[in-house]
């Protein structure tokens, strides 16, 4: 539990941080909330030579709504998201997610940007951000660019961010009327990584599924959408038999592995059950029940 040696930088601006990343390349690691990096360093699973602590950069902690998006600064703490009135009222799936991440002490430090940039399929935000069809704002030496979330997670612990890019902001499209979402997580105990987690964001129109996106947690090596289950539902009338079918399809398309959280078979079956439950809850919320 004693980390190895490292050199520590605390830049006060994004450009300064980008400069350090450019200078040190793969030897550098960004420290945001430290939820994942600090334990990895204490176990010496990660031994970065350079630590770029971005917590002193001003102006990256905010949750605000514009006409088109909910804009979240990358350094926004999970506890702030959990407690945000806008999030609770307009983006309940995001509130669902923040409140099941780790424990309250960790949530006071942990950031949404770090949760996404770490690209751990066991993290909770990737599934919900996929379901929200969010956009990721990154800044590098050449300026800002926007990455659609579907292009963001490209492998285990791997994103499409360049080495000298910093994740700056998350843009969640404002849900149109008739929308609802829910994130349900099965965990062995509070604060655990998910055995499985299912995020469902949908929009109803004329009693039919107009659109639906389903994100899954910790059942594949890369954060994933249950695309086949989504395709099955779009344009259909919500009914229990259909939810059941969607659950089965989602269970078939995920790729869980056996570990202390359960067998592959168990996890697939939980994906089936929890997908149904998340769809039901998202529909309730689309109908105005929070």
């Amino acid at each position: 539990m004693i980390p190895g040696k490292f050199e520590y930088f605390a830049p006060t601006s994004v450009s300064e941080a980008i400069g350090l990343l450019g200078q040190y390349g793969s030897e550098a690691k960004i420290l945001a909330g430290g939820q994942s990096l600090i334990p990895a360093m204490r176990f010496r699973l990660a031994q970065p030579e350079i630590l770029v602590d971005i917590n002193r950069i001003q102006g990256l902690e905010y949750v605000r709504e514009t006409d088109d998006y909910l804009e979240i600064g990358a350094l926004t703490r999970e506890s702030a998201i959990e407690k945000s009135t806008i999030v609770q009222q307009r983006y309940p799936m995001l509130a669902d997610t923040a409140r099941v991440i780790a424990d309250p002490l960790v949530r006071n430090m942990a950031t949404i940007g770090g949760n996404l940039a770490h690209a751990d399929p066991a993290n909770d935000h990737p599934a919900t951000i996929l379901a929200y069809n969010a956009r990721i704002v990154a800044e590098g030496p050449g300026g800002e660019r926007i990455i659609p979330v579907d292009d963001f997670f490209i492998g285990i612990f791997e994103t499409s961010l360049e080495r000298d890019e910093i994740l700056k902001e998350i843009l969640i499209p404002s849900p149109p009327g008739g929308s609802g979402g829910a994130y349900l997580k099965i965990e062995r105990k509070v604060g655990d990584y998910a055995v499985v987690g299912v995020a469902v964001q949908l929009t109803m129109e004329d009693g039919l599924f107009k659109s639906i996106r389903i994100g899954l947690t910790n059942v594949s090596s890369t954060p994933m959408r249950a695309r086949a289950a989504e395709a099955l539902l779009v344009g259909q009338t919500p009914e229990e038999a259909l939810f059941d079918k969607a659950g089965r399809v989602a269970a078939a398309e995920c790729e869980p592995w056996a570990d202390l959280r359960g067998s592959e078979e168990y996890k697939r079956d939980l994906v089936r059950v929890v997908t149904k439950r998340a769809i039901r809850k998202a529909i309730e919320r689309a109908n105005g029940v929070l």
């Binding site: 539990m1 004693i2 190895g4 040696k5 202390l260 168990y266």
Partner: protein, 789 residues
Amino acid sequence: MSDTEVRITTPPDVCGMGHRMKRKEDPRFIQGAGKFVDDIKLPGMLYLDIVRSPHAHAKILNIDASEALALPGVLAVITGKDLQAAGNLHWMPTLMSDTQMVLPIEKVVYYAQEVCAIVATTRYIAADAIELVKVDYEPLPPVMDPFEALKDKVIVRDDKEKKTNHVWHWEAGNKDATDEVFARSSKTIQQKMYIPRIHVSSIETCGMVASWDKINEHMTIYMTSQAPHAHRTVISLVSGIPENKIRVISPDIGGGFGGKVPVYPGYVCTIVASLVTGKPVKWIEDRSENLQADSFARDYHIDAQMSADENGNITGLRVKTLADDGAADAAANPSKFPAGLYSIGTGSYNMEAAHFEVDAAYTTKPPGGVAYRCSFRVTEAVHMIERMTDIMAHDLGEDPAAFRLKNFIRKEQFPYHSPTGWEYDSGDYHRALLLAMEMIGYEDLRKEQAEKRARGELMGIGISSFTEVVGAGPSKDFDILGIKMFDSCEIRVHPTGSALVRIGVQTQGQGHETTFAQIVAEELGLPASSIKVEHGDTDTAPYGLGTYASRSTPTAGAAAAMAARKIREKAKKIAAYLLEANEEDLEWDVNKFVVKGSPNRSKTIQEIAFAAYTNHPQGMEAGMEAVNYYDPPNLTFPFGSYICVVDIDKGTGEIKVRRFVAVDDCGNIINPLIVEGQIHGGLTMGLAPALFEEIVYDENGQNLSGTFMDYLLPTSMETPKWEVGKTVTPSPHHPIGAKGVGESPTVGAPPAIANAVVDALWHLGVRHLEIPITPQKVWKILRENGIDE
């Protein structure tokens, strides 16, 4: 919780027994001012870290520490060969008179075993140096299954003369009588069950600061110890340092639960490191070292049989058990009891005969097993008997509560001689269960369960009516390494009427600084707030065997009362002198001696104390001090009845403990607030192995649950609201009628929960589920029975 049964004889300003006094130790803990071993910082202190084995079983071909030694700041690397050269310190005795490697020379026998120790000027340099030590291993086949181990294909302890993995065989009860009872009983049942390996997981890990004073040849040791005197004796015997030249200080301790009774290799290395360098050396385990290498608990493979007659009366019990000891028998049981007090397993039930057989096997796992909040293997015994009783009741088609009430030892049978040789001192089992049933609304719950079952919903009700056996113990039967298990108290009343109480036991969170003050306040009438309680420093505290097995109140608590009574006897003489009265004409009233019939003629204990130093009778020794070493005549037998209600999620198999009622009887109560706190904590530690905790190894012997990520301690979110109640049945032989309570809830809770889950699934043909009962285990049963949401 009503305190109507709690006996209170002193006013609130005296605050003797029965008062809900707030803990005296809490202000310092709440304000972060506790002083734990890791808070000790001595000038010039060095730091020790340990290289650990990545194999469960492997030959050591070579240890190359040259690179580590070359790192600036590294002062020494200690290997098994170094310890051997220093006087055969590479092996040490365990508390069970087995042997255990301190550091290995030939081979390692468990994953994360200590291989060599590094001493450096900073904690960070020590950790860096660990990575520079190169150890060449030749892997040997791991021995992970104790049943396989007994086939002796691979010998774990080839250092021993006898080439076998069989450690010992032990029996209790009467085999022939049991066979005879089984032969004529109309109903017999059999069930195998496994009580998995778990870990005490105290919040403070183990650690030590050892400081060798070369000039005075004196060793001062700060140590996470539940038994500082016993440890001082062991250290003296092993190191050869005279006992008067060793001072063991056990400062504030962040939880022990039995895990701080054994001596670990890290302690020995730290002492040797200080001897070698002549400097103070600190060693503090990290969490994973603690979880992976320190002594485990439980790990009993049980095969139990119970018999009953045609009227549904339990007649006999036959139990065979294999104990997985790991690489050494490093349990801390009394010498005569290699399986602890496991033979208490006939529990709360009247039966004719019982026979227990236990064998132990070596495996390539860390040594054990400590008595984790279980008063020497009583947890295993209670889980067995309470599961068996439930299976028998269900099999006979009887309600588990009615079946227990029918089979309980009756109040008038006490003192009760059990078929395995125990003499239960007192009990009223019917009253405790009936109170628990009333508190939880048992009959209504059974109706609700029937209605829900008809609708396909899964709900279960589980009972555990346990009998504990604590307070080791009478010196005729109980010793550890030959040291008898008495305990002690020394009281000094100061001239101005306050007092110092020193005890041979050592608190790890039990609240001794409060409860021992209350015992003395009860006996002497001095306000508990004016009594300072000290313990844990072998230079000042009287000799004692320490705190574990719920023994502090039964032993040292009795010593405190007896020492106080000695002082009161002397006080009576002084009072007679001061009042110019005959001793026979004086009577004690809370805090003063009063001349019978003359209520105005009296002397308070404070006045008497002052006189003891200023105006004592000629010919009498001055002062007001007493010491007592208490050797209990018997153990004490706390008991209780717990009822638990669970709901099961048909979709996920998740188990929700909806309600949990715990009725405990620990005899007379010293402080109800502390007792309730003990029960809340103990119940949570009983919930943990029932539903969450288990040390898991892979087939190579690697510990897969070596962090709190995968070793699942329940949090407040998993913990139900505990509903506690009590009855009071005083111990007839204890000076203050107390029995001890620390371990009752840990012992009693797991089978209540397991019984509830099995009860919810019994109609599906489920007779037993191994703990921890995880959602996946339940899910599998549900799906196999076509149950889904």
